[in-house]
């Protein structure tokens, strides 16, 4: 068995795939979120610091004089625009560290954040913005109530920005302030490292755990496979031994129920084959014994005639038996081979009974038919005729002379009902449940030599069942038996049928 093709492997693979996608999405999301938060807080710090620096007018002077005390690693620089270019005043800002386009943009009023890696390999986060130191309190540059936007106010000689803030000097200045990113990057790197180990590790552990769980969950299936493999068609008595109330328990119970049915079917089939072979061998035994006995020595013509008569009789009995076996096999084959016609059961029964009249007469039995109501059914006429003939023949055979056999047809609800009642010897209660079994004979009195093959009633039942009907029997010793055939009515003409007697 290939492991890769097992449910275990496929289940684990799918589950790992889903888990991996989820974990990677989660880890990526976490990484992005933490990064954004950390960089955001650095940027917020820079903006805040820029604001702080703006409250000191003389920061550039302090820097120029080397008296500025910044935070650890902090870089502060001022770019003052001159005729020639920029005059840079900085703590230890490397001249070429910043791309001048950012500074130009800042002069245009567009502040920006830039991450720069210095030649020493240090990462710095820059905030580049116009430097607008705040005026001291009470300055006339403070915009009065109701002042118009864009109006330049303030004492002469003092430039006022569009927002109304006084500029520290006539020269436009850009502040570039930077914080080292070491800690943020270290934190991000640690996070990345953790995630890169944690995600595969989680997947690995999940794979192991998943495999273990699936194997545990599927172990009963392996046992079931082993158990069913041991069951062969010759020995269907074994069962799958799994007793639980879960899905697998249900599967096992279903399997066992199926085995029960199979075993019963096989046993019936085997019994039938045994019986059939026995029944066929019996006449054959007589034929062979009789013939070989006759041939042992010269005999009189009368002896030969006797032997040949016995052989002929046995041959015809075999013929009947084979005919019945074929009928049974065809009937077992089901509806496919049926030739369904729509007809009146009452008429069919009446014809059949009329045909049986000579048999009844010979046996000294009165045969009566009562079928006033018409009963429309859809049946194979040949087969149903056979059922009726079999039942009537049986009734006549087991009814002593001067007895009566009655056939009656009527409708009841959605069923057409045909009953065959006799005043015969009856069937013992202990035999009653078995009389429809193949080759079952009631006692010695009804053995093969009396003409019964033990198949007649089995054939009747089989035919009636293929017509979706039922065949039942009630019987009382020395009083008589009644066989009842129920067939579904067709075409909803039962009402008309029920009315007919009053019309006629």
């Amino acid at each position: 068995m290939s492991f890769l093709r097992s449910i275990r492997a496929r289940f684990t693979a799918w589950y790992l795939l889903v888990l991996a996608v989820l974990l990677i999405l989660m880890a990526g999301g976490l990484y992005l979120f933490v990064g954004r938060t950390l960089y955001g807080s650095v940027d917020d710090g820079l903006i805040h610091r820029a604001g702080q620096l703006a409250s000191f007018r003389d920061v550039p002077t302090l820097i120029a004089e080397g008296r500025f005390e910044g935070a650890v690693g902090e870089v502060v620089g001022f770019y003052v625009q001159t005729e020639a270019g920029y005059r840079i005043t900085s703590t230890h800002l490397v001249e070429n560290a910043l791309d001048m386009t950012w500074v130009d943009a800042a002069f245009e009023g567009e502040p920006s954040f830039v991450t720069v890696t210095t030649q020493e390999g240090q990462s710095l986060r820059f905030y580049i913005t116009r430097f607008r130191p705040a005026l001291p309190a009470g300055s006339p540059a403070t915009r009065p109530e109701g002042a118009q936007e864009g109006t330049r106010l303030g004492p002469p000689g003092v430039a006022v920005s569009e927002t109304g803030e006084a500029l520290p000097s006539p020269e436009p200045t850009v502040l570039a302030i930077a914080q080292p990113l070491d800690r943020v990057m270290a934190a991000m790197s640690t996070l990345r490292g953790t995630l890169l180990i944690a995600v595969p590790l989680t997947l690995l552990l999940s794979a192991g755990g998943g495999l273990f769980l699936v194997r545990r969950a599927l172990r009963p299936i392996d046992r079931m496979v082993a158990a069913t493999r041991e069951i062969e068609e010759t020995d269907l008595s074994r069962r799958v031994a799994i007793r639980s109330d879960d899905e697998l328990g249900r599967l096992a119970r279903t399997l066992n129920a199926m085995l029960d049915r199979l075993e019963r079917a096989f046993r019936r089939q085997r019994q039938f084959t045994d019986d059939a072979s026995h029944e066929l061998r019996s006449p054959l035994s007589v034929i062979e014994a009789e013939a070989t006995l006759a041939l042992r020595r010269e005999r009189s013509a009368e002896d030969y005639r006797g032997a040949i008569a016995t052989i002929a009789e046995e041959a015809s009995s075999m013929n009947r038996l084979i005919d019945q076996l074929l009928t049974l096999a065809r009937s077992d084959a089901g509806e496919e081979s049926m030739e369904i016609e729509r007809l009146d059961l009452s008429e069919l029964a009446s014809e059949t009974v009329a045909a049986m009249e000579p048999v009844a007469e010979e046996a000294g039995v009165t045969l009566a038919f009562d079928g006033a109501a018409s009963a429309p059914v859809e049946v194979d006429p040949l087969r149903i005729r056979r059922v009726i003939a079999n039942l009537v023949e049986n009734a006549i055979r087991y009814t002593p002379s001067r007895g009566q056999v009655g056939v009656e047809v009527h409708t009841e609800g959605h069923e057409a009902i045909l009953s065959v009642t006799d005043t015969g010897m009856g069937i013992p209660a202990k035999d009653l449940p078995h009389i429809f079994e193949r080759f079952y004979r009631v006692g010695k009195a009804r053995s093969r030599s009396e003409g019964g093959s033990g198949l007649g009633l089995a054939i009747c039942e089989s035919i009636v069942e293929t017509h979706h009907g039922t065949l039942s029997v009630t019987s009382q010793i020395d009083v008589g038996s009644q066989f009842i055939v129920r067939l579904p009515l067709r075409g909803g003409t039962a009402d008309r049928a029920a009315n007919r007697p009053t019309e006629g």
Binding site: D274, S277, H278, R281, S282, L284, S285, V286, I287, E288, A289, E290, T292, L293, R296, T310, E314, G443, K444, S447, R448, S449
Partner: protein, 223 residues
Amino acid sequence: MRILVVDDDVRLCSVISRGLTEEGYAVDVAHDGEEGQYLAETHAYDLIVLDIMMPKADGVTVCRNLRAEQSEAPILMLTAKDAVADRVVGLDAGADDYLVKPFAFEELVARVRALTRRQAPSRSAVLVSGNLELDTVARRLRRDGEEIELTAKEYAVIEYFLRNPTALITRGMIEEHAWNNDFDSVSNLVDVYIRKLRAKIDIPDEPSVIETVRGAGYRLRAV
């Protein structure tokens, strides 16, 4: 030799019975297991032919019961089942041999002969006593090499004597083994057959081969 045939098939019983009677055996017939067992228990049969599939009690059960009751008559099973397991069941139940249906009559007779021979003190197919020689296969009796014509019944009686050469044989024993149940034991039929046999077998003016034991029965004359 007396044989019981037990089979529910009346016609088959009739053929077997007719054929075996023709062979000189006395044959009784039973049509179900219970009847067969009753007959086997109440008569000393030399052989029982027993069908397996029968109403009331099947052949295997009857066979087992008889063996449990120390009945030693050889049993020949007739079976329509030829699966090995079925044959084994029959033999294990105490049957001595089996015959699968359908069978040729010759085979049945041969097996019957073999089984009855097995039972007798002498296992040879030819029984010898003095100048008498009985071929149980050809069913011929010779005296000094000269064949003596016998009827089936005469043959059955002399065979019984030759199979039990030293025993005292009562009229009842002869009746038991040479006649079936239809025989009326009040008649002096046994004496009639002994007389017929003596007339055919004995050499004139010599003591009879079959001695009369006064008040008891007969015995084969010791050689």
